[in-house]
């Protein structure tokens, strides 16, 4: 299943659908990094609003995406984690440490704006 990746200025937005397979996640990881390189994006927002479960593989993949994108000098923000999903994640010890998070797309963009302002 292809995950749509949209471009909004210097930001790429990838919206997860529910129930992504491990193969989908791997494909997405490579795809996102390729796009960041090609389009010279400064940031990626991964919107997981539609995910109602987050297992350890998905969580690890998100962290790897963030790390790989940081190596390209770009920022990653994960948005839209649902309360129930967040609760389940921390109980499993999946805290997405080192990865920026925000409530939703709007907050994610606001966070990036702030960040770009201060670093420019």
């Amino acid at each position: 299943m292809e995950v749509p990746i949209l471009k909004q200025g210097a930001v790429l937005i990838a919206t997860f659908q529910a129930a992504l397979s491990d193969a989908d996640l791997n494909q997405l990881r490579m795809g996102l990094v390729e796009q960041v390189v090609k389009l010279r994006s400064r940031a990626v927002i991964v919107d997981v609003t539609a995910m109602d479960v987050m297992d350890s593989f998905a969580s690890r993949t998100l962290r790897e995406i963030a790390h790989m994108i940081r190596l390209r000098g770009a920022e990653t923000v994960i948005v839209g984690i649902q309360p129930e999903v967040a609760f389940a994640m921390v109980q499993l010890g999946l805290t997405l440490e080192g990865v920026a998070t925000a409530l939703d797309l709007e907050e994610g963009l606001a966070y990036l704006n702030e960040k770009f302002k201060t670093t420019n």
């Binding site: 994960i78 649902q82 967040a86 609760f87 921390v90 109980q91 805290t95 997405l96 409530l103």
Partner: protein, 305 residues
């Protein structure tokens, strides 16, 4: 010799009458049918008698005469149907349904059990009256009636108690929710004042409520004040850390305020990673820091009047 003959004559007589009895005896199900038919035929009269005894015994005083009559009718019919079909699950469902209606009216357990037992007695008396001339038949009818009637009384009582327990659980849940409000004091700023004893269940409920509150109010900062919490164990301390982590996943920063010296000691002893927690001494300090984080500046313009 003569004696033996007498005893053997007695024995034969007893045997003969027993055989005669067996020839006359009906199957239990047939007895029940006969019994149910009798109860249906005399429905009006028996129900009336029952209502009179309910009033005499001063039960169901919270209900009006019309209400008692209406409920008595449906209970009577359900009772007789349960005797006939032996469908006790249906009866239990009926009992819970009835309880749902009458518990808010203030009807007590002893009243419900009382009226069912009265009905059992009224029906038994009518059986005595009907079969008074055939003692053996009466015994057989009672053999069929009694276990079924007792099971009915039991089923109704259990159904009633289960409904009460359900209501109590519901109320406990409501109290728990009320006692941990999530309050918005500024745009994007929530306060969660925790008071009293936190058990693992309450801790979990607090976390869920807070996370929902963060999403609903789009909060960026949360101040959790635990001034009112006396003691904390490992489970609850870990839950607090998890709450902080989960809040971050929703984009909110948590400031914990009001840690007593005892709790601070507990957390250090347990080895909770305090680096993960943003703590400030008291609630005032916590709110001030939260305002700074949100870009507020509070300025005093005049003296209080």
């Amino acid at each position: 010799m003569a004696k033996r003959n007498d005893t053997s004559k007695e024995t034969t007589e007893t045997l003969n009458s027993q055989v005669a009895e067996l020839a006359h005896s009906e199957a239990p199900s047939e007895l029940l049918r006969e019994l149910v038919a009798h109860l249906r035929q005399n429905r009006t009269q028996l129900r009336e008698e029952w209502v009179v005894r309910i009033t005499e015994t001063r039960l169901l005083t919270a209900m009006t005469k019309e209400e008692i009559f209406a409920e008595a009718t449906s209970v009577y019919d359900s009772y007789v149907e349960a005797l006939e079909t032996e469908a006790f699950e249906a009866l239990q469902a009926y009992a819970r349904n009835l309880s749902e209606r009458i518990i808010p009216r203030g009807v007590e357990t002893h009243e419900v059990v009382g009226i069912v037992l009265l009905l059992r007695d009224v029906l038994a008396r009518s059986l005595f009256a009907k079969y008074q001339n055939d003692f053996k038949k009466l015994n057989r009818i009672l053999d069929a009636y009694e276990p079924a009637a007792n099971r009915i009384a039991n089923t109704v009582a259990v159904g009633f108690v289960q409904e009460r327990e359900r209501v109590i659980r519901q109320q406990q849940e409501a109290i728990r929710e009320l006692s941990t409000p999530v309050l918005q004091v500024r745009e994007r700023l929530l306060i969660l004042p925790i008071i009293g004893v936190i058990d693992p269940q309450r801790a979990r409920q607090l976390t869920e409520q807070l996370l929902r509150g963060i999403r609903t109010n789009r909060a960026k900062v949360v101040v959790i004040d635990i001034t009112g919490v006396a003691a904390m164990d490992l489970t609850v301390a870990n839950n607090l850390v998890q709450t902080v982590e989960a809040s971050r996943l929703l984009g909110a920063t948590v400031i914990v305020t009001g840690l007593s010296p005892e709790i601070a000691q507990t957390l250090v002893t347990i080895g909770v990673d305090l680096g993960k927690m943003n703590t400030v001494g008291d609630l005032q300090g916590g709110i001030e820091q939260a305002e700074r984080l949100l870009g507020y500046k509070v300025e005093k313009l005049a003296e209080p009047r």
